[in-house]
């Protein structure tokens, strides 16, 4: 049965391109990574536990959480503020560890992730599972005791959302996985805000929406130039399932919605002119880079200049906007 572009075998279906006839669970049980084969796996080094938490991804989570905390009205003791940010980081690390526990078989097939602790054979899956669950409980309980239980609840929701909704349910099944799953990365500013105020008001919700609509263009720009990896692993990322032209159109479409979300805090009078100016200029540049991606038709992975530029700029863009929110709020206060 020839497979047309875009037709991805469901990871659990017998026809999936791993262990013919085996379901995902059976396939994981027979793979060298399963707990039964732990003798062939060395004692994990402590650096592998750090790698399990995906530290690089954590920096953006910590920064946006810190901005949510600094932008919030009111005062919180510096030690409690530090603890809140620590819990956001630990929660993100726990979710990343559980993600790697569940996707060890997929990570083994992608060049970008093949050397992670589990597919690299340096840790067995059960250790990763225990580490992820333990760190999740610890971060939520510490957040609750150090700040308040609303912030702890939102932290718990973000971890559960990332693991169950995104990693386990959506990612293997739909090309819209990143659109909905992106919500998990949008919680940190809400958590930081709630840690200070004990409630959630319009500005944290606006910041949540900004990250929510920023995630698709950010992630699909990456997916365009690592598309081969996702196809090999059987993950229905948009470029793999719907092709590049559709992906470029969706990047442009979500950039337009993101632009509205970026300007919303100003239009709703939640921030002042500093954020307004920075948001306007930075978003215009984002739209320019996104339009360059939208216009291109080449699909040679080697020449993905505009796509890589958009992906890199999209990270700087979020730092710029959240930094501007904090500066603006402090000057307004």
């Amino acid at each position: 049965m020839s497979r047309m572009e875009g037709e991805i075998p469901d990871r659990n279906s017998p026809g999936a391109n791993h262990g013919a006839g085996l379901s995902h669970e059976e396939n994981m049980a027979s793979s060298p990574l399963s707990a039964g084969n732990s003798m062939s796996i060395m004692t994990a080094d402590w650096r592998d536990f750090v790698a399990l938490t995906k530290p690089r991804v954590m920096t953006l989570v910590v920064f946006t959480g810190l901005c949510g905390l600094l932008a919030a009205p009111g005062h919180v003791h510096p030690v409690l503020a530090f603890t809140a940010i620590l819990c956001i980081a630990l929660g993100a690390g726990a979710a990343a560890a559980l993600n790697q526990w569940y996707e060890a078989d997929i990570d083994a097939k992608m060049k970008r992730t093949a050397n992670r602790p589990l597919p690299g054979g340096r840790m067995d899956r059960q250790t990763a599972l225990h580490f992820g669950v333990g760190l999740s409980f610890f971060s939520v309980l510490l957040m609750g005791m150090a700040t308040n239980w609303l912030a702890a609840a939102v932290l718990a929701v973000s971890i559960l959302f990332y693991v169950f909704i995104y990693t386990i349910w959506l990612k293997p099944r739909t090309a819209q996985n990143i659109v909905i799953g992106g919500a998990a990365g949008a919680f940190p500013p809400v958590i930081g805000w709630a840690a200070v105020t004990g409630d959630i008001s319009a500005l944290p919700v606006a910041l949540f929406m900004l990250i929510f609509f920023w995630t698709p263009p950010h992630f699909w720009a990456l997916a365009l130039f690592v598309k081969i990896d996702y196809a090999a692993a059987g993950i229905p990322m948009l470029p793999v399932v719907a092709g590049e032209v559709a992906t470029r159109r969706q990047i442009w479409f979500y950039t337009a919605i993101m632009a509205v979300a970026a300007m919303a805090p100003v239009l709703l009078n939640l921030t002042g002119p500093i954020y307004g100016t920075v948001a306007l200029l930075a978003t215009a540049l984002f739209a320019f880079f996104a339009f360059q991606v939208f216009r291109r038709r080449e699909s040679d992975p080697a020449s993905m200049g505009p796509e890589k530029r958009l992906f890199k700029y999209s990270i700087l863009y979020l730092f710029l906007l959240f930094g501007a929110v904090v500066v603006d709020r402090w000057l307004m206060a």
């Binding site: 004692t43 030690v79 409690l80 603890t83 150090a146």
Partner: protein, 43 residues
């Protein structure tokens, strides 16, 4: 298990134990600081 592997495992276990000890020490300090902040009405 070869002597080299055994030696490597022991080295890893030792470094893990040191890191765990340092983390626990840091947590003791953090919990003490949180308690002081909370007692002082830090919110």
């Amino acid at each position: 298990m070869t002597p080299e592997e055994d030696k490597k495992i022991r080295a890893r276990q030792k470094s893990r134990a040191i890191v765990t000890g340092l983390l626990l020490g840091a947590l003791v300090i953090l919990f003490y600081a949180i308690t002081i902040a909370k007692i002082g009405g830090g919110q």
